[in-house]
Symmetry: C2
Subunit: 341 residues, 2 copies
Amino acid sequence: MRATLMYEAGDVRIENVPDSVIKHPTDALVRITASCICGSDLWPYGSMTRADGPARMGHEFIGIVEDTGSEVTTVKRGDLVVAPFAISDNTCAFCREGLHTSCSHAQANFWDGQAEAVRVPLADGTLVKLPVAADSALIPSLLTLSDVLGTGYHAAVAGQVNERTRVTVIGDGAVGLMAVLSAKRLGAEQIVLMGRHQGRTDLGLEFGATDVVSARGEEGIEQVRELTGGHGTHVVLEAVGNMPAYQQALGVVRPGGVISRVGVPQYEEAPIGFGSLFRHNLRLAGGPAPVRAYIEELMPDILNGTIEPGKVFDATTNLDGVPAGYQDMADRKSLKVLVNP
Amino acid sequence: MRATLMYEAGDVRIENVPDSVIKHPTDALVRITASCICGSDLWPYGSMTRADGPARMGHEFIGIVEDTGSEVTTVKRGDLVVAPFAISDNTCAFCREGLHTSCSHAQANFWDGQAEAVRVPLADGTLVKLPVAADSALIPSLLTLSDVLGTGYHAAVAGQVNERTRVTVIGDGAVGLMAVLSAKRLGAEQIVLMGRHQGRTDLGLEFGATDVVSARGEEGIEQVRELTGGHGTHVVLEAVGNMPAYQQALGVVRPGGVISRVGVPQYEEAPIGFGSLFRHNLRLAGGPAPVRAYIEELMPDILNGTIEPGKVFDATTNLDGVPAGYQDMADRKSLKVLVNP
């Protein structure tokens, strides 16, 4: 079968790899009908060394179950399913608390789906059946349940957004826009979107942003403070992951407020001492989103049309077009690329 | 009047300074009857340079109101009062949220009380009247309302301790022991105290610790994990403030858990990236405790004998004994020194 491999920064290829097969009785084999390229894939696309490649890419997909191991009970051949980006058993202590990304099962992991088919470990815990056909117009929105919608929603949940909170969202990528939509869904009083690509921030306004700040750094911080009575916002949803984004978050968060990070940090050390987090009791939250925990909660809103997260896809390609899709996303020509293998 | 001045590390002197006087109509003048030396005073006692001195020291006291400005209404001459370590108006948006340490009033500040008398700005917001006499046996416990009890309690509140949480307390100083007492008060299921001074950890057991781990570093982390089913505790109350304590907190916190810091960080940068906080959705909370917010809640427990936080005082001296008191605390000969000027 064909799959996506990254050899090093800027070098993505579609190659033949051994067919996926069932290995464990808890596995399912899924023929992928829709997948996509993630903003987080752009970090290795910008920095991966040849020594770390080639790596199988992709972790968001919808597909049709082709086969199941003998112990799989919740999905069967022919079911259309969505997979969260993390494999989990959905039964351990952490999964029961909604922290599927810390599932304690030995086979729990993150993974790779820009391919024709994929072996899904812990199928019962991981896969969720979709009540539509593979050619439904809702597929793009349902595909966001595999990562970006759940990730934006996790940012808002971890940031404890409610109807009394003012929120800043840092980043106008797909996750940032999903964070806007999620903050709106949780009733945020004000949602300031920091981003400088007008096509994207316009979509952010459609998703519920009340203000857009295109300036960055000190100027951007100053503008957010002006919009929020001088104090900044109770919650900052940080959907980028680099140090300038973290510094910006420190600049716009209100005393006692929380910075909720879902952009994978591209740094290990950062300021958290008296002069940054401590002095005003600022809190830090977030991490890899346990999107499995949110699928049942969010899917009805998609099925009944309340939210249309699929609007983040502004390009569609097939497997052959994946390398160009990476480059278009890296060049900010595409917001998010849907892949129909 | 006489007051405590620190000239540099290791050099604390009692000297004559100009008498405190009322300056603003919202001030009160308080004759101090009981104050104490704080663990946080030991950081400058260990590192302050001569260029930063001399500095007035002390920020915890009980005293008798000697005079009040024309606008003060809640306390009057002759009242016995306790002062939290931060000056606040108790009316601004942040104070109303319980975040008195971020009070937005221009006169809000931290301050100095190892002296004979002190001018208290924003007396109405800052001072709380005590319903006992200055020679009450409850004075040591009531004095802890000015800082250490409220600080330990803030750690537990910011860490969201409840009856379903397991807690590790890092540090067997006065604040760590108050954190134990506070976690117990909030119903924690298990309280592991990490400390290596048996006299102190014995007091911790009396305050509610269920386990004591005297080992530090990797060995200490391993022991806490063994005591908690391998995963660590939901909450870590970090009551030291240095980098080894932070690293220890990272080692014993459970996935999805929270590190609540009240030890003033002696570092600015620290690991918070994928490999430390992010991977398992660990959260960071805490800061300077808004102890003013907790005085009314905690005082009844002291008055009716439910808690005896004053047991942390294991030495009493007068102003002349303050320099030796600093040295005794630095040498770990004394846990916490009470000062009757």
